[in-house]
Amino acid sequence: MEYNLQIKDKTITVEMTLKQDCWLSATIKNSPDDRTDYEQIQYGRISDHQVRLMVNGQQINAWIIDQTDGKTIIIGGERFFIQDKDKLAQTQTLNPRTDKGPDQVTPPMPAVVINVPVQLGDIVEKGDTVVVVSAMKMETSLVAPHGGTITRIGINEGDKVMPGDILIDIEKNEVDKIEIN
């Protein structure tokens, strides 16, 4: 079986063959010329959140949790969020979601709006602070994901906002960069 796994912006292809009992072999391709073969892997599940692998004679404990669209895996103090790209494509065609992508100004967690240092019609550059929110008593600046003109401000100071709420619309300018000499 071939799997395409997504970790952040990287796609990793794994060819896996299940063998008898609890053995498998796999080839991991990080890129076309970067591949590693794992001939004999013994595996087992310890609990709902733990699997154990024996790779080249070494015991590996991994802790796992299923989350929306993927799994978080902890190994040796490292945390990974891994998605099955093929499954992801299926679910996305089944329930096309409104894409809130990185192009929007939205808080990463429930927060309160502290300050809106921009006004309607302002021209902002990528990285400019457009909203300051406070969550867990900590102020955080939300920045313009791209340069452009502020076309809508959907919040006031003191508003409670949630992830996914689009706080401010920034329309990209037709010409990305005006050359100034």
């Binding site: 299940l18 103090g77 990974f80 891994i82 102020e139």
Partner: protein, 495 residues
């Protein structure tokens, strides 16, 4: 000694105080908000009183409700922990009026030390060196600008009230000054109800060294050595250790004596902390005094073998210190890592949520002061600290190695944690050499990304988890009624 006390706090520190009370056979009363109905501190205490909605202003900061809970449960004293009401003089006065002992200093001492300007003046008068900067509290922007020009940029804007990294801004040039003052003042007003700010010199290569002190009602004041707290993010400490690699025995003695002088100048009673900046020329300056139990107190407990909460209780109960300065000696080295629910890849933004799975590390010299358990929720409303992991070893190198090992077997699923970030800091050459300073993270780790050494294995684990789940599903409904345990799924291990 008290028979019953109330703990006006939540999370790991409330649990920490309960631990010592259990050791001393003192009954405990927890208080909780809507968000904390099943929090660990509630489950651990002998009694628990609901005090209101999740918003701290209506629960953990609601003085009358907390005093009401103490009266109702006949608690004789209140331990405030850190944060919340721990440094609120009005609360201390209200406790006194209700004839409840506040386990901490007097309202007067808190008031004097809580105001950074007053404390700077007291220390100056007592002959304690202070950082160059302003010593008044109401300054115009022009005055701030003038002082900044005089002492030279970068400067630090600080709230005159409070602490905990709130209301602080580093300003590198005059152009940034006005914005920084405005936002620091706003954050200070939100966090402490007081918008006043002042300005002092910022030392980018300085270390943050603090001394633990204990003082009783009979004029005995001692220090319990230093803590090095230079590793900070967002002006909050995340790794603390003792002894400091930068402090020589003679400097330790000098700074320790100064700390005792400072505590006496403040007429301080109970446990407190004198914070100093130590610059790269080994000159030190008084920063502030924290009039409470410090978050990072476990490292001091590890090397001195003294339970600071027990000392607090003894002092509050009116007993004299049984320790003298010559009783205090250090054994080995201790390091603490703060484990927050936060995302180190996203500017340490809080990551609240449900802890689906939690496994603590263990072994000799490993201590975890935790406020969580598998299945609990980390609420949005409060500081997202999950636990403080502390290791103790004979040498600094051993203690670092032990900490890295402990972090690797510390498993939290459901929220993000900075565990991988902490491992990378502890493994880095500058940390190992002890070359730390307050700007360490910005200098060495500002563009940190996980190294992903175990990426291949993580992919394999992902697929194995899928395979095992499929196998489980296909055996569902078979003659096997029992869910497969490890012995069914493990196969034949050759160990």
């Amino acid at each position: 000694m008290f028979k019953k006390i109330l703990i006006a706090n939540r999370g790991e520190i409330a649990v920490r105080v309960i631990q010592t009370c259990k050791d001393m056979n003192i009954k405990t009363v927890a208080v909780y908000s809507d968000a904390d109905k099943t929090a660990l501190h509630v489950l651990e205490a002998d009694e628990a009183v609901h005090i209101g909605p999740s918003d701290p202003s209506q629960s953990y900061l609601a003085m009358d409700k907390i005093i009401g809970a103490a009266l109702k449960t006949r608690a004789q004293a209140i331990h405030p922990g850190y944060g919340f009401l721990s440094e609120n003089p009005e609360f201390v006065e209200k406790c006194t009026q209700a004839e409840i002992v506040f386990i901490g200093p007097s309202a007067q001492a808190i008031r004097k030390m809580g105001d950074k300007i007053t404390s700077r003046k007291i220390m100056m008068a007592g002959g304690v060196p202070i950082t160059p900067g302003l010593t008044g509290s109401h300054h115009t922007l022009d005055e701030m600008g003038q002082k900044a020009d005089e002492i030279g940029y970068p400067v630090l804007i600080k709230a005159t009230a409070g602490g905990g990294g709130k209301g602080i801004r580093i300003v590198h040039s005059q152009e940034e000054l006005s914005d920084a003052c405005e936002s620091a003042s706003r954050e200070a007003k939100n966090a402490f109800g007081n918008p006043d700010i002042y300005l002092e010199k910022f030392f980018p290569r300085a270390r943050h060294i603090e001394f633990q002190i204990l003082a009783d009602n009979f004029g005995n004041t001692i220090h319990l050595l230093e803590r090095e707290c230079s590793i900070q993010r967002r002006h909050q400490k995340i790794i603390e250790e003792t002894p400091s690699p930068a402090v020589s025995p003679s400097l330790r003695e000098e700074m320790g004596n100064t700390a005792v002088t400072a505590a006496k100048a403040a007429e301080y009673v109970n446990a407190g902390t004198i914070e100093f900046l130590l610059d790269d020329q080994n000159r030190y300056y008084f920063l502030e005094m924290n009039t409470r139990l410090q978050v990072e107190h476990p490292v001091t407990e590890m090397i001195t073998g003294i339970d600071l909460v027990r000392q607090q209780l003894e002092i509050a109960a009116g007993n004299p210190l049984t320790l003298t300065q010559s009783d205090i000696s250090a054994r080995g080295h201790a390091i603490e890592c703060r484990i927050y629910a936060e995302d180190p890849e996203n500017d340490f933004f809080p990551s609240p949520g449900k802890i689906e799975f939690f496994k603590e590390p263990g072994g000799p010299g490993i201590r975890n002061d935790s406020g969580i358990y598998s299945g609990c929720t980390v609420p949005v409303e409060y500081d997202p600290i999950l636990s403080k992991l502390t290791t103790h070893g004979e040498t600094r190198d051993q203690t670092i190695a032990k900490m890295i090992k402990a972090l690797k077997s510390y498993i939290v699923l459901g929220v993000k944690t900075p565990i991988d970030f902490l491992i990378d800091i502890l493994s880095s050459p500058p940390f190992k050499e002890g070359d730390v300073f307050t700007n360490f993270i910005d200098t060495h780790f500002s563009t940190w990304k996980p190294t992903e050494k175990n990426r291949d294995l993580a992919c394999l684990a992902f697929l194995v988890d899928e395979v095992c789940k499929k196998k489980n599903r296909s055996t569902d409904g078979d003659e096997k009624k029992q869910p497969p345990g490890p012995f069914h799924t493990l196969g034949n291990w050759n160990l």
